[in-house]
């Protein structure tokens, strides 16, 4: 996260005694250290105190490994679908006028306002075995959504819908139409223009939005625990696995999986940050 502030000599607030300045700065540091840094440090200390070998051993147990694999592939598939549909949604919202556009724009933000547990409940009501849709899909198509990977992916798509749309939208809005016009002048069709001119200009926001949703999907719990249930080796994700290990007081397993999840998520957030910075630099040039 870069700061947006210009050089700071002028930005200093007026007439503040130096002790006030130190006081307020240490208040901020204490607040963040107590609330964030100490808990995070403790989990790494707990999980790594047996060395990397123990950590690897805990992760490679069949149940843990399958939970991690399930989390990664469902999150990755979600990120791909979200990238495609999010880009299309942003494109339609920026480039076309149609009735209901304002409503669509509002719907994009809905998932941010709805608690993820409620999202899970919604999906169970719609696709659960007692519901009309759920029963029909199961009997006619032999598709199970709830307590199975499709339910996990739907839940992740719901929760992460805004991220790609809101990353792409402003960039598309500020995109210069000149290159698209030039391509058209040279005889390119609309599809060619989209693939060869528009899309390449959007890859940074698409990638950062999709990776951000991937990072958040790794830790998603509320929506998934309801939708996927807690069936080891079948529908148990990493977060649900940690929950189970905490419940059964298996500290080693819980700490090991937590560390893997935290490391993956932090690495992804760093990449997203880098992509955003690059995007801002591109925009300035």
């Amino acid at each position: 996260m870069t700061s947006l502030t210009p050089p700071l000599t002028v930005q200093e607030p007026p007439r503040r005694a130096p002790w006030g300045r130190w006081g307020i700065q240490s208040a901020a540091w204490t607040y963040v250290t107590l609330l964030l840094l100490i808990p995070l440090a403790v989990i790494f200390q707990d999980g790594l105190k047996g060395g990397l070998g123990t950590l690897w051993h805990s992760i490679s147990l069949p149940i843990a490994w399958s939970a991690l694999k399930l989390t990664l592939w469902t999150s990755a598939l979600m990120a791909v679908i979200n990238a495609i549909m999010g880009t299309l949604t942003a494109y339609v919202l920026v480039r076309y006028e149609f009735p209901g556009k304002a409503l669509l724009n509002a719907i994009v933000d809905l998932p941010l306002a709805i608690p993820t547990l409620v999202t899970g409940v919604m999906l169970v009501v719609l696709y659960g075995p007692q519901s009309f849709v759920g029963a029909w899909l199961k009997n006619q198509m032999d598709w199970r959504i709830i307590f199975a990977p499709p339910g996990i992916i739907l839940a992740l798509l719901f929760v992460n819908f805004p991220f790609v749309v809101r990353a792409v939208q402003p960039v598309l809005q500020s995109l210069d139409l000149e290159s698209e016009e030039a391509a058209a002048t040279l005889g390119a069709g609309p599809t060619t223009i989209f693939w060869r001119v528009t899309l390449p200009a959007l890859w940074l926001p698409i990638a950062s939005g999709a990776l951000l949703s991937f990072a958040r999907a790794i830790g998603e719990f509320g929506a998934i625990v309801i939708v996927a249930g807690n069936i080891p080796l079948r529908s148990q994700t990493a977060a649900v696995y940690v929950f189970g290990e905490v419940e059964s007081a298996n500290r080693q397993g819980a700490s090991a999986m937590s560390i893997v999840m935290l490391s993956l998520a932090f690495a992804l957030v760093l990449v997203v940050d880098w992509l955003r910075k690059r995007g801002r630099k591109d925009a300035e040039e």
């Binding site: 307020i24 669509l104 941010l112 306002a113 958040r216 790794i218 940690v242």
Partner: protein, 287 residues
């Protein structure tokens, strides 16, 4: 630009009209809009509608009766208590944090600025677990807590800490951009006219930050209302003692009290929606 494009196109024969430049043919455009609208409707609106119909499946009376359960009431009360405390702490310290990050440059500024976004990427279950490692029976602070006769894990204080962790970024991230764009000229002017530091803050700076502050408070509050995983792990969801509204919904589903679970979920969802959308509307009108 347009004229050049037009003249070239005219040379190019009639098939390429200038409108072609950035538009698909009408039916393809309609198809594209249709796909996007159908996706949003199926993904977001259909589950929403299903929840509302599920809550009222046995009639309005049954849902109201389910909601008048004393467990729902005590869960709602605890949820509100945690949310208000969270807002009180972050309202004050989150604003201080935003102030420090915008107004001062110091060693470690990048670190402070970077770490406050971490809660976005930490799984709520892991948040709850970290607090158990600190405050649980075998936790790091266990001897200290025992000496002071304090209970944090499986009690309300732990749930408040969990909610504080999860909602930490909102306040600072809402106040920072407003503070940044406000600048310091008016504060300097106030100081020149003899105002004290506090006077300047309350009479000049704070009114300018008002909307960022209010929006931060509402987002924090809404997020606190809906927190589930972290409070489940650290609080244990003990019926009547550490059960918030989300934990009640979880237990009701488990016990197959569907009307109660769906009705409570609907109320919680609606409350969060109204809060967030209401503030968005207010902010638009203010502009």
């Amino acid at each position: 630009m347009t004229t050049v494009a037009q003249s070239t196109t005219e040379l190019n024969a009639a098939s390429r009209r200038p409108e072609n430049i950035r538009s698909l043919s009408a039916w393809r455009r309609r198809l594209l809009i249709g796909v996007v609208v159908a996706y949003a409707a199926l993904l977001i609106l259909a589950p929403l509608a299903a929840l509302v119909s599920g809550a009222f499946a046995k009639g309005l009376g049954a849902s109201l009766q389910a909601l008048s359960d004393p467990d729902v009431f005590s869960a709602f009360l605890l949820t509100l208590k945690i949310a208000f405390l969270t807002v009180a702490v972050h309202g004050l310290l989150g604003t201080v944090l935003a102030w420090v990050l915008v107004r001062y440059r110091f060693r470690g500024h990048w670190l402070l600025n970077g770490v406050i976004d971490l809660p976005f990427a930490v799984s709520p279950v892991v948040v709850g677990y970290m607090l158990l490692l600190l405050f649980g029976r075998t936790g790091l602070f266990a001897p200290l807590l025992e000496a002071l006769d304090l209970k944090v894990a499986f009690a309300v204080p732990g749930m408040i800490l969990a909610t504080l962790f999860v909602t930490l970024p909102f306040m600072a991230r809402e106040v920072m951009p407003v503070l940044e764009s406000f600048g310091v000229e008016q504060e300097h002017a106030a100081a020149t006219l003899g105002a004290s530091g506090w006077q300047t803050f309350w009479m000049v700076t704070f009114p300018a930050l008002r909307w960022g502050f209010i929006y931060g408070v509402i987002l924090t509050f809404a997020r606190a209302l809906g927190e589930f995983g972290a409070v489940l792990v650290v609080g244990g969801g003990i019926q009547g003692r550490t059960e918030t509204l989300t934990l009640f919904i979880y237990r009701a589903l488990d016990e197959r009290q569907y009307v109660g679970a769906y009705s409570a979920a609907m109320v919680l969802g609606l409350l969060s929606l109204v809060l967030v959308i209401g503030t968005e509307l207010l902010r638009k009108r203010e502009k």
